[in-house]
């Protein structure tokens, strides 16, 4: 098994998948912590469906998929943020409408242009073969931008996440940082979508953050732990995908589910010890 794992990286498509996957796992774990705590997690899910629609339309019209999807999804991120800030209950419904609507348009366009082929399957559930050389470069550059922005504005993002009213009162431009968060999320979602699939990419945002919160009780701790969980689960998923020929996106999600169960168990045991 070790031998075949070693062999894994002699394939250039595997190396590409690994590079993009690690970048995306890291970015989505970082952003996921803020999104989950701000009760914005549905935005990630909504964005991935919009991304699917954008990719489908782009490929039908013969444009480079990423160059269409990135601006469309960033634009939708602003829209969804607006919607969810205005009113809580209606915001939920609006996100649902936008995401299912985009999904439907995407499916329609794809089936009209090429017929329902394996293509649609790849878009929805991801493909490890989907990464081209240019995708890798774009991913590296964008992921580096996301990580830099996050590191630079870490304390401000914490302040806005923890208590937006206080942040605003002390003169922090909360609206700007919410928009920054949404933009970075949009970019990450588009990057990860090809490999993880439109249906599964939001799990990368949700799982590591929630799993880390089982055991870590400081923001810093949760951030570090979530990043680590995300990266490890991605590696495990990718390996199993290679060794057992399982779909890559689904394998990564299953690894995340297992991590969640494990960490929940640790939390329970700890809670019992504390209670004694």
């Amino acid at each position: 098994m070790l031998e075949s794992l070693g062999q894994m990286f002699t394939y250039s498509f595997m190396v590409r998948a690994l590079v993009v996957g690690l970048m995306v796992s890291l970015c989505s774990a970082l952003l996921g912590v803020s999104l989950v705590l701000k009760r914005y997690s549905m935005i990630g899910d909504g964005l991935s469906h919009v991304g699917f629609g954008a990719l489908a339309v782009a490929s039908a019209l013969g444009f480079a998929p990423m160059s269409v999807a990135v601006p469309v999804v960033v634009g939708s991120a602003f829209l969804l943020l607006r919607v969810s800030e205005r009113s809580k209950i209606k915001g939920d419904a609006a996100i649902g409408m936008i995401s299912t609507g985009a999904l439907a348009v995407g499916v329609l366009v794809l089936s009209l242009s090429k017929g329902m082929t394996t293509d649609i399957n790849n878009y929805l559930f991801g493909s490890i073969l989907a990464m081209s050389e240019s995708d890798v470069w774009l991913s590296v550059v964008l992921a580096a931008a996301v990580l830099t922005m996050y590191a630079l504005f870490y304390r401000k993002l914490f302040a806005v996440t923890f208590d937006e009213t206080f942040a605003r009162a002390t003169g922090l431009k909360a609206g700007f940082f919410n928009a920054l968060l949404a933009t970075l999320t949009a970019v990450t979602v588009v990057l990860g979508m090809r490999m993880m699939g439109a249906m599964l990419i939001s799990s990368l945002i949700l799982f590591p953050a929630i799993t880390a919160m089982r055991v870590c009780k400081s923001f810093h701790g949760v951030i570090l732990c979530a990043s680590l969980i995300s990266v490890v689960c991605f590696m495990l998923g990718l390996m199993s995908s290679y060794l057992y020929n399982t779909p890559s996106g689904a394998s990564v999600v299953v690894a995340n589910i297992l991590a969640f169960v494990l960490f929940s168990g640790i939390e329970k045991v700890r809670g019992r010890k504390l209670a004694k």
Binding site: R155, A159, T165, F166, F219
Partner: protein, 233 residues
């Protein structure tokens, strides 16, 4: 010149006036307590003073070197924050987040000092989740002090606290006012405590029912009906 002056201020939500005719002046060293029932416009006035909401009428002016962003604010309890994974230190130092990207040495020193003032030094590395309600409020007060030492605006600081923690909170605020020369504006239900600690009282029911010194307020009929348990309010 006053730190904060409200001149004939009125606020409205979607065209409906919720507070009006508000004149007030907060000078350095004052301890103003704004009392009134739920829905009397207190929290709206707070938002206005913080610059989070524009008045539909009148003006709010900041003076004496105080700018709008220099108000140390202690918000009302937010239920979302109860399960928020954050250490005491992270929350307190976030009081500086608007100022700079990274914490500098001076800010670290100030944060430590504020923790000490709030009797929280031992809990620095603890998670907010592990603290009692009173301790959590003190953490948020330490954060407010990081934002400024000039003017504190406290929105229902003792809401939901047990009697012991309530008394401790009042004593800490009183200590800041008396010994650290912090100007305080406090929103409260608790007329008794307001009259005991504050220098000035504003009693609000959409419009000011009383505005003046705490001494005069104690003599007023309004104070007696409000504290005497007669429920005309």
């Amino acid at each position: 010149m006053a730190l904060l002056t409200c001149k004939d201020v009125a606020f409205a939500y979607e065209g409906k006036i919720v507070a009006s005719n508000i004149h007030l002046q907060v000078n350095e060293g004052d301890y103003l307590c704004i009392v009134g029932e739920n829905g009397s416009g207190k929290s709206t006035l707070v938002k206005g003073m913080l610059g989070l909401m524009e008045p539909v009428h009148g003006t709010i002016r900041y003076g004496d070197g105080l700018s709008r962003n220099e108000i140390g604010y202690l918000p009302q309890k937010n239920p979302l924050q109860r399960d928020f994974p954050a250490s005491v230190w992270e929350v307190v130092s976030s009081g500086f987040a608007a100022r700079s990207l990274f914490l500098n040495a001076e800010q670290k020193r100030l944060a430590e000092e504020n923790l000490q003032l709030m009797r929280l030094s031992d809990l620095k590395k603890h998670s907010m989740m592990e603290l009692s309600g009173g301790q959590q409020q003190r953490v948020l007060l330490a954060r407010a002090l990081c934002a400024t030492r000039k003017l504190l605006l406290l929105d229902e600081p003792v809401a939901g606290l047990d009697p012991l923690a309530t008394r401790e909170m009042y004593e800490i605020i009183d200590d800041l006012h008396q010994n650290r020369h912090v100007t305080v504006i406090m929103i409260s239900h608790d007329v008794d405590a307001a009259a005991r600690y504050a220098t000035h009282i504003l009693h609000l029911r959409h419009e000011p029912l009383f505005y003046g010194t705490a001494e005069d307020y104690l003599k007023s009929e309004l104070c007696h009906t409000f504290t005497g348990g007669e429920d005309d309010a």
